[in-house]
Amino acid sequence: MIHFVLLISRQGKVRLTKWYSPYSQKERSKVIRELSGMIISRAPKQCNFVEWRGYKVVYKRYASLFFCMCIDQDDNELEVLEIIHHFVEILDRYFGSVCELDLIFNFHKAYYILDEILIAGELQESSKKTVARLIAAQAWNNFSLS
């Protein structure tokens, strides 16, 4: 399963965090510090996986943002890489060529989208259309209610 999702900027600033396993606030900052140090310094040609404390962290850089997901030892890294890409594509579709600023100012929306893709640390929906439909339904519902 996926233990957490981190979005870190190239400067090491946190843009989004989602924890599927319990971590205390202290552990969280430690994890972020450790991983951002490790991942940001990696060369672009190196592989997108880092072994860390018995887990594997799969990351991918999109423009200035690093998308990282921490998975178990026996999970499929390439699949997770695909999930990351999937998330980015949906964000892109939702925001219309997404950029870091969109995520900075609308991070809660990114959370909603992530909640439709992952649930309890597992992929729940890999169809972009379905996710888009659900998000749209929510927006419509809001509109009609408020």
Binding site: Q25, I32, R42, C47, E77, E79, F107, I119, A120
Partner: protein, 988 residues
């Protein structure tokens, strides 16, 4: 330009009234974005927290405003600050009727709270209500929260509603409900154990997404207990087939839009393959169902896309886990080759990982990829490098252990990550203990590990090392023992000079110097004692080291006195002892006093107190105190009461005491502070689990203080034992290495050989090895160096070449005629080889013509294309052929000519194994035999002129071992060499 875009976006953001972000919030985000230092950022956030604290408690806040506050809280929390003051407001917001507010509330609580937070109880009610809502979006939001927030205690409250939702008309809801149940299963397997049928039923859901989601809980269930799901194999295979062929159920049709949903397919394929891997592992029947579909997926595999490769990789994992199938293994090897040849580091990484999995089943696959693996090993990318070490670890055997461990140690020295350093150090130790070719090398290796990984190494390793040096080879190898010990002493005296040695290493050094420092008479007592005092002085704040040092001093003086020499203490020793006499530590003090007392005694007394080299002698403790029997008898006769054991004496009282204490404990459930001793499986009923389990566990233990202590001790001991097994210090393996030589073959332990034959004689085996090594050594010195290849090739040879070679064993006896002896050795080895190899051999036995041996050289290029595929003809023969070869082997043992044929065939077919199953050029029996004898004859004639023991030749020097290994490979009559001259040379 960039700035303009930014401004544009911000404007758009600001005008976005619908989502109600105020100027304030935008300002906050912006100022944090512009903060130049962490301190500045913290200042801004703290100010924000103050503002929010004030604002959020104001009465009558508009909903929109409140929502924004909550989002601001989220932001603060995300930046790593504490926003707990606002949690309750987030909880309140979940009660709101407005979906938008409700969702914000749920989002906030899922991000703020862990499932053990006190506020959860306030949300459960809302969740219960929302799960029954008519609006499916509300249900979705609630289910999201359920997955995150519901803990073991609150599962029963929501479980019925969640189960009802499995039949919800919306697939999104069904999917989330399945995942929620999956989560429940994670948290408390018993809560959903009655729902397993629901999972099975959901497998047939007409929405592939729901089916895919169901695979998650099923995978977990199957991983725990594969046998009760064997019946599902056929359905899984058929689903996989449908998914792989994109044949989704016709009924599935989303909003009149035929849905290809390729993506969903791929993800479920991976999950399905994972499940099949578990179900098929070790189960031939189940595996047979899968062969076709897996083969099909691999064949159609799309290696251009990421997800396509993910599936291919998963196929390899599955193939390597289920009952082996030759065709699939071949296909998997092809995929691995593609991965490794790729430019992408990701694929290389996956390739190495897959290779590590496959190598367990067919050890020969690595050989095709020698250079690729070495490239990965030398890659600057740490991740790739570590993965490669993992692979090397899996393929280590006694022939390549030196190179691999040296590499590992070099890498260990170069990194600073403690976590991985510990890990790789334990790997080194494990390999060294299992495969060390010589004691000298072992000690050198351990020295290096201790020196660089230091205190990260498990203390057990140090104790093992000491024991190894102490026990030596056993009774009949005194010469080798003392050689080992003096080489250890030598190396330690050398190392002592280096600054900052880790404490654990110093303890080993002190112990060895104390026991054996003066044993061989090379160093005088005063020299060794001087060194020991230096250590104690240099590490004067480490009491353990000082204790070891003073004990070592005691021993050395005792040996001196026992030998009748006069002892004069060096002044620094004198002062050291005096210092310890006044030490605060009673332990050190006592040791010092003991030393002082000992020096005063005469030689005979000292000898009995401290006999030389007696660290391994068993000290017999008379637990029954038998020497007191007479006295007891006398007392009894005089009318004394007989002794009643302590637990019997107070037993009754204790049990009742204990009961009451137990009840007491269960009454204040949740306030137990001492740790539970043993992890127990979770208890199904929630009523009185604590008292039940703890009473069964603890009643036998009497209540008195003393016995409680022993109980603790024993539990500690057992836990430390568990620790050792975790580290896999394979002591039995070590004993085999250093004790009397016994039958053990590391290849047989690493591969899942199906045909072990215990008939093989121990002595025969050894002698054979001795012959082999003798011949080999002889060759090392005699043979001029012909091999001119780049360093990588050498490394490759030393890493991979050994894989088909016999185990090295040092033995000094040689009584049996040479030529006939090699056979048991070979057959031994062959038995260790995998079933597949056996099949190959059988095949070659039956049909292939015997071409000239010299042709072998031409087939030695690393990859030879298969001319004929023996397995195509051989499918189905697998089982019978294995058993028949076994018979063949055992019969061959009694029959010398048979042995020779077998030998010839074995070596030839092994050759074939290394070349990826091409039908090899089969060795002409007669030729091979004559060649062998020639080799043997040469061996005898050159014998006197060469250094006879392989031990002395083996150094830690990587280059030496590389060369040696390369030659050994040529010598082992498994001519995969790059040296075409060798055989003509051999044959004259």
């Amino acid at each position: 330009m960039e700035q303009l875009k930014t401004i544009g976006r911000e404007l758009a953001m600001g005008s976005q009234g619908g989502f109600g972000q105020s100027k304030e919030f935008l300002e906050l985000v912006k100022s944090i974005g512009e903060a130049r230092s962490k301190a500045e950022e913290d200042r801004i956030v703290l100010r924000e927290i103050e503002t929010l604290k004030r604002r959020i408690v104001e009465p009558d806040i508009a909903k929109r405003k409140m929502k924004e506050y909550i989002i601001r809280l989220l932001y603060v929390e995300m930046l790593g600050h504490d926003a707990s003051f606002g949690y309750i407001h987030a909880v309140k917001m979940t009660h709101d009727d407005n979906l938008l507010s409700k969702r914000t509330g749920y989002l906030a609580v899922t991000l703020f709270l862990n499932d053990d937070h006190d506020l959860i109880i306030l949300i459960v009610n809302t969740i219960q209500k929302d799960l029954k809502s008519d609006n499916y979006l509300v249900v979705c939001a609630a289910l999201n929260a359920v997955c995150r927030l519901i803990n073991e205690e609150t599962i029963p409250a929501v479980l019925p509603s969640v189960v009802d939702l499995l039949a919800h008309p919306k697939d999104a809801v069904r999917k989330k409900a399945v995942m929620a149940l999956h989560r429940f299963h994670h948290k408390s397997p018993y809560s959903v154990s009655h729902l397993i049928d629901n999972f099975r039923r959901k497998l047939c859901d007409n929405d592939p997404g729901v089916m895919g989601a169901t695979l998650c809980p099923l995978f977990d269930l199957i991983a725990v207990d594969p046998t009760s799901y064997k019946d599902l194999v056929v359905s899984f295979v058929s689903i996989l087939k449908q998914v792989a062929e994109h044949r989704l159920p016709k009924s599935y049709d989303y909003h009149q839009m035929p849905a290809p949903f390729i993506q969903t397919d791929k993800e479920s394929q991976i999950k399905l393959l994972k499940i099949l891997a578990v179900l098929g592992s070790g189960d031939k029947q189940a595996s047979e169902h899968m062969y076709t579909v897996i083969g099909e997926i691999i064949r159609k595999g799309d290696s251009s896309s990421n997800i396509g490769n993910a599936i291919l990789y998963e196929c390899i994992c599955c193939v390597s886990s289920i009952y082996p199938n030759v065709k699939l293994l071949e296909a998997a090897a092809d995929v691995i080759a593609r991965f490794l040849k790729s430019d992408s580091h990701n694929l290389k990484y996956m390739g190495i990982d897959a290779l590590g999995r496959l190598i367990k089943i067919s050890p020969h696959v690595a050989e095709q990829h020698q250079l690729a693996v070495i490239d990965c090993l030398e890659d600057p990318d740490d991740t790739l490098k570590r993965k490669t070490f993992e692979l090397l670890y899996k393929m280590t055997k006694s022939s390549n252990v030196e190179v691999i461990v040296d590499r590992m140690i070099d890498y260990m020295i170069s990194i600073s990550d403690d976590h991985y350093k510990t890990y790789i150090a334990s790997r080194c130790v494990e390999l060294a203990e299992q495969f060390a070719p010589s004691n000298h090398w072992f000690i050198q290796t351990m020295n290096k590990v201790f020196e660089h990984a230091g205190d990260l190494v498990n203390i057990k390793v140090a104790h093992n090392l000491m024991r190894l040096i102490g026990e030596g080879f056993g009774e009949d190898a005194a010469a080798a023992d003392s050689q080992l010990r003096s080489s250890a002493v030598e190396s330690y005296l050398h190392i002592i000079g280096e600054p900052k040695l880790p404490s654990m290493f110093l303890q080993v050094i002190c112990w060895v110097l104390g026991e054996y420092g003066t044993a061989d008479g090379k160093y005088s007592a005063s020299y060794i004692t001087g060194k020991l005092c230096d250590i104690a002085e240099a590490y004067s704040n480490d009491e353990t080291v000082k204790a070891y040092a003073i004990s070592a001093l005691t021993k050395i003086y005792a040996f001196e006195i026992a030998a009748g020499r006069k002892v004069d203490m060096l002044p620094e020793c004198q002062s050291f002892v005096e210092e310890l006499l006044a030490s605060h530590s009673t332990d050190l003090q006592q040791r010092a006093y003991e030393l002082q007392a000992l020096i005063g005694l005469d030689a005979r007394a000292v000898e009995t107190i401290m006999p030389q080299d007696a660290s391994c002698e068993d000290i017999e403790v008379d637990k029954n105190l038998a020497f007191l029997h007479g006295y007891v008898q006398q007392s009894l006769e005089r009318g004394a009461l007989p002794y009643i054991p302590e637990d019997e004496r107070t037993g009754m009282v204790n049990v009742s005491n204990f009961r009451s204490q137990d009840q007491h404990e269960s009454a204040q459930h949740g306030l137990r502070f001492e740790a539970y001793e043993v992890p127990k499986p979770p208890i199904p009923s929630k009523v009185a689990p604590v008292s039940l389990s703890s009473s069964t566990d603890l009643v036998p233990v009497p209540e008195t203080l003393y016995s409680r202590e022993t109980h603790q001790i024993s539990s500690v001991r057992s836990s430390s034992e568990a620790g050792s097994s975790e580290l896999k210090l394979k002591l039995d393996g070590v004993q085999k290495k250093w004790g009397k030589p016994t039958y053990s073959s590391s290849t047989s332990s690493s591969t899942n050989s199906t045909s072990q034959n215990p008939v093989n004689g121990v002595t025969q085996m050894d002698v054979a090895a001795a012959v082999n090594s003798r011949v080999r050594d002889n060759y090392d010195t005699r043979e001029p160096r012909v091999e001119i290849s780049p360093e990588k090739q050498k490394l490759a040879a030393s890493l991979f070449g050994g894989s088909t070679k016999t185990e090295k064993r040092s033995s000094t006896s040689n009584k049996v005629p040479r030529a006939s002896v090699s056979a048991p050795d070979r057959s031994q080895e062959s038995k260790a080889a995998v079933a597949l190899n056996e099949v190959a051999r059988e095949k070659t036995n039956q049909s292939s013509p015997p071409p000239d041996l010299l042709d072998l050289d031409e087939s030695t290029v690393t990859v030879v294309p298969a001319s004929v595929d023996p397995f195509k003809q051989l499918e189905g023969l697998l089982d019978t052929s294995i058993s028949s070869t076994t018979n063949h082997n055992s019969s061959g043992e009694s029959n010398a000519p048979d042995i020779m044929t077998l030998y010839a065939e074995t070596s030839a077919s092994r050759e074939s194994g290394s070349d990826g199953y091409s039908i090899p050029v089969i060795g002409d029996n007669v030729n091979l035999l004559s060649e062998l004898s020639i080799a043997a004859v040469r061996g005898t004639t050159g014998e006197t002129t060469v250094t006879p023991l392989s031990q002395s030749v083996k150094g830690p020097n990587a280059k030496d071992s590389l060369q040696r290994d390369a030659k050994v490979r040529q010598m082992g009559v498994t001519p995969t060499s790059q040296n075409p001259n060798l055989f003509s040379d051999l044959l004259g």
